[in-house]
Amino acid sequence: MTDSNSSQQWQRLAQKMVWSYSGDESEEMKNQIIARYRAGVRRRNASLAAGVVILCSALIWPLSTYLKHDEAVSVKADSSHNASDAGAVADARFGTQTKAPDAHGDGVSGLASDTSPRATPLTPGTRFSVEEETGVSTYRIAVGSVRFEKGPSVTRRLVVHVGALTIEDIGTVFTVETLLDAQVHIAVAEGRVRVTWPTGDAELTEGTDGTFPSGYENIAPVSALHRDGSVKIVPDAMDWRTLARNGQNRQALRSIDSDPSRVRNQVADLLLAADVMRLTGNPQRAVPYLNRVVREFPGDTRRPAAAFTLGKVLLNELGRPAAAASMFAIAAQKSSPLAEEAIAREAEAWYRAGNFTKSRMAARKYLEYYPNGARAESVRALNNGTP
């Protein structure tokens, strides 16, 4: 077969291979094509949307993490301490709400976050720290403006320190703001607050406000805040207290070490210095400061807390249970919110010191006062000599 013949033969044969569609088939096929096209478009749009969402998430997540880190309250408790340790200082930066640490692991009676007061920073760059103890939330404002709310369901006491100024709430909503010339402005929206400073005290009622001395020269006013939230404080003015309140405990320690007289013989200074020592891993150096509070300020409301903290340091970190038991006994004043926990710990400390008689006495005291207390079971075991 020649080339042209062959070609013509194949082409002739191929011409018989034809395909056609009826009107219905054609219509149906067109509809299918359009349906496939639309499905493809939908798929593509969905993929695009998913891609955009993933991309946005990928961009937003690190940003929000960064902002959270910079702004939200971040509790940085010393790693050697349980966050629920009484007296543990947490550094709180600009954020919306503090959170009470879960205390079950340490045996402190259950502290639910909804029982904690609510602290809302009102200006960017506001810096405050929070100490969560049994029955009391202690805030220390370094700079800025914070609104405090303590609803009726909040059982904890709320104590706010600004320099040497102490504000105690009596079921309330109030705002604390640092001002120029080491002044602090307090406005009460609801309830009452009691304000105490080294040379006096006052009570503010609903709808009233007042300006009080902070007692510290270097309290930064709100007006010193930059737009970006940073604080306009020259380095020389950053004494160890400011450093400590900003969570810069190591620098605060160096400052104290360079001149120990910087720690004044005031309860606030002594407690803060003790915290600096504890949080920098020097619990033995916290002891003298706490001891001074316990011995030299018998009438101060913070004495039981100091004694309790000292007891914990002595018991858990320095292995001196007998001395710790004495401190817990001081902390166990009936009026103290720490009393329940302190008595339980006293019983435990005496037991660890080998003084079972005193341990049983403390245990019985606990069971008498708090038969249904959070530590009742463990204390009962101590009373029976089978901890």
Binding site: M1, D3, W10, Q11, A14, V18, M29, K30, I33, R36
Partner: protein
């Protein structure tokens, strides 16, 4: 300017559409006019009717997507053939792979053409048996040239190759068919 393998400068289809004087055809027109043609080309390229409908649908789906790029009916026809060749090529390659993996019976396929005699049917079976054994690109070029009766330039355009390559492929396929014929 990037040049097409056929030697023609590749220009944006939209840019020349106004010069051609023809308007862009709508999809219904294209489908009514070319669906039997595309189906027949697909049947001749594939050698079996099982996948013709799917292939036609795939081709016209692409057409629906790119309808705005088609200048006129002649351009649309050439473009549709090109897409048909590409889609057929994919399917044939897949079929070969399936046969290679023994996942399908190669001998079960034969063109179902109702209008041919038994002798012609036997010739078709023999032809597609030959085509199955030759390289895919050669097969497609030869099929377009001798079964479809396309010009060499059209073959080159549809196979996306140069004229020389198209001729070489057709020649190689023809040589193989002639050799088998002589045997």
């Amino acid at each position: 300017m990037k040049r097409h393998p056929t030697g023609q400068p590749r220009v944006h289809l939209r840019a020349v559409s106004s010069d051609s004087g023809d308007s862009c055809p709508d999809f219904d027109t294209l489908f009514e006019r070319f669906s039997p043609y595309v189906a027949s080309v697909a049947l001749r390229l594939m050698g079996e009717d099982e996948s013709v409908d799917d292939l036609v649908q795939d081709v016209f789906l692409d057409c629906y997507r790119q309808i705005n790029c088609l200048r006129n009916l002649e351009h649309a026809r050439r473009w549709l053939v090109k897409v048909t060749v590409r889609k057929a090529s994919k399917r044939l390659r897949r079929r070969k792979l399936v046969q290679f993996l023994h996942l399908s019976d190669a001998g079960s396929r034969e063109p179902s053409v109702p209008l041919v005699t038994a002798d012609e049917r036997a010739q078709l079976v023999m032809l597609y048996g030959l085509l199955e054994r030759m390289p895919l690109k050669d097969r497609l070029a030869w099929s377009l040239r001798y079964l479809e009766g396309a010009e060499i330039s059209e073959v080159a355009y549809a196979c996306n190759c140069s004229l020389a390559t198209a001729k070489r492929r057709i020649h190689a396929a023809q040589k193989m068919i002639k050799g088998e014929d002589h045997d």
